[in-house]
């Protein structure tokens, strides 16, 4: 699977609510990061919309499947439109990939549109990749936002 196909595959898993399969794409030491501030450099001493290690990301997925996950039942319907994919670093074992995300979310009679610059660190794994790090910089991360119960 090439890089483009891998990112489309990831988006498809999210859009079809295959959250457990999506989680499997991440390495054990992975981090998933949606910064709060534009150009945020640090995730430990500045807050983030989401900053999960692999354990917390796993719990997030587990929560979504709970019969009383009020903000996630039903899960929002989404379209993750991934584009402008470019490999910006390739060290052999690991690639740094930039892309853009346009996301449409619909739930509870409310439709939202998101835009983000995305960066993946992908580790080669046989014929495919695993995600070692994913960073999603929302264009409106510093804005006044309704609660976020989706995964980017």
């Amino acid at each position: 699977m090439n890089v483009e196909q891998f990112l489309y595959h990831e988006a498809r898993l999210l859009d079809t609510h295959q959250l457990e399969a999506w989680l499997e794409l991440f390495t054990d030491d992975a981090t998933y990061w949606v910064p709060l501030e534009q150009g945020q450099k640090d995730a430990l001493e500045t807050s983030s919309i989401i900053h999960d290690d692999r354990t917390l990301l796993g719990l997030r997925v587990k929560q979504a499947r709970h019969p009383r996950a009020h903000a996630r039942l039903p899960l929002a319907r989404t379209v993750h439109q991934v584009s402008n994919i470019s490999v910006i670093e390739d060290s052999g074992d690991e690639l740094k990939v930039a892309s853009t995300l346009a996301l449409i979310e619909w739930r509870n009679e409310k439709q939202r549109l998101w835009g983000a610059l995305v960066e993946h660190r992908l580790r080669r794994a046989g014929e495919s990749f695993r995600i070692a790090h994913k960073r999603v910089d929302l264009v409106n991360s510093e804005g006044e936002l309704d609660g976020i119960a989706i995964l980017f």
Partner: protein, 436 residues
Amino acid sequence: MAANEQLAMLVQPDRVHRSVYADPAIFDLEMERLFGRAWLVLGHESQVARSGDYFTTRMGREPVIVVRKSGNEIGVLVNRCAHRGATVCAEGRGNTERFVCPYHGWSYDRGGALRAVPVPGGYRKESLSGLGLKAVPRVSLYRGFLFASLAATGPSLEEFLGPAKSSFDDFVDRAPGGELEVAGGVFKHVYNGNWKLMLENHLDGVHPAYVHASSIAAARGAPEPGSPGSEHYFDIAVRQMRQNGAPESLWESIGLWATPRGHGWLGDYHTDKRLTGGDEHPVFKEYKKKLIQKAGEAEAERVLGVTRWNTIIYPNCSFMSQFRQLRIIHPIAVDRSVVYTYSLRMKDAPARMFRDTVAFANVVNGTGSWVLTDDLEVYERVQRGFASGAAEWLCIGRGHGGDVDEADGVRRGASGTSEVFIRAQLNAWLDYMTKQ
């Protein structure tokens, strides 16, 4: 507009009318009589540490600028040009000598006085005298926390806070040397619901088991938090989520207090051990050592013996001292509210403690939190329910009749799950709304 007698009928000892949360005319009246009169929490003095530092915020519907004036005093100015009404200062924060209106270049100093008007020859001189950015009449600090009131007269800040001062004392006393600063970014979340819904939720010990059932269940299945010296990043989240799932008997047994002005707090909920690993934790040991250095052993023990959880300062603030979270609510419309969540850093505590604060903020109070998002979902469902004419009233009677009056007007809940704090908030609401 509703007459005072009509307003008084809406709040009864054990029930409240839905229009208090859903009627736009009542909301308008709240902006005038409640947010226009009460002391409102605006933030912390560290946000305007140096002369010229400013940040923008709201007081009810008023857009305001909080600024450190040249004489080092803190001022609060209404962010509205005296000329054509444009906001003179863009949203955000910074440092400036002058606020210059983008429309026709009228410029104001840090105290709000009009300093320059381009092409002034077009005006008779006397017509410009006395113009400026309107200063909010009363500004005051309590131990570094910044308050302002849009009313020129009224109770002093000390009088307003009353016994709730002790929660701010707990907040500040926990910092070695009393040094706190706002740091680590601001969450700004919004929900389609009345502003009161948040304040009526933060001391509610019954809701976690239901609203947060999914995050509690996930945390129960999580790996165990690390032992002292081998902590994980996820420990803070897992501990807090599990604590939300404390048994009913614990929620029943904890202390819950409310004051006649609508303030309230939950005590006896946590110990440092429950949420951070506590005493044996190497970072906590280092912190405690610093606290003892600054305050002495006896005082340090006293400070750490206070186990207070959320405190509500009515009508616009909720905070908790252990992880140093400050939430300020801005009513936008009868069914729309914005909440700004700040973290505070203890300047002289080990750096690692602020990392715990950030981890806590992300997972509990953040816009993408798995805890907060369930609260917001429920607020919105409650607001939708108000549209129903099938039932006019909400029940607020848990513990009613069993609450206990203590000194200084403080009332202790019949149990930790009493709705005493909601009744106190609504009594204060009625007081603001009907007194002239």
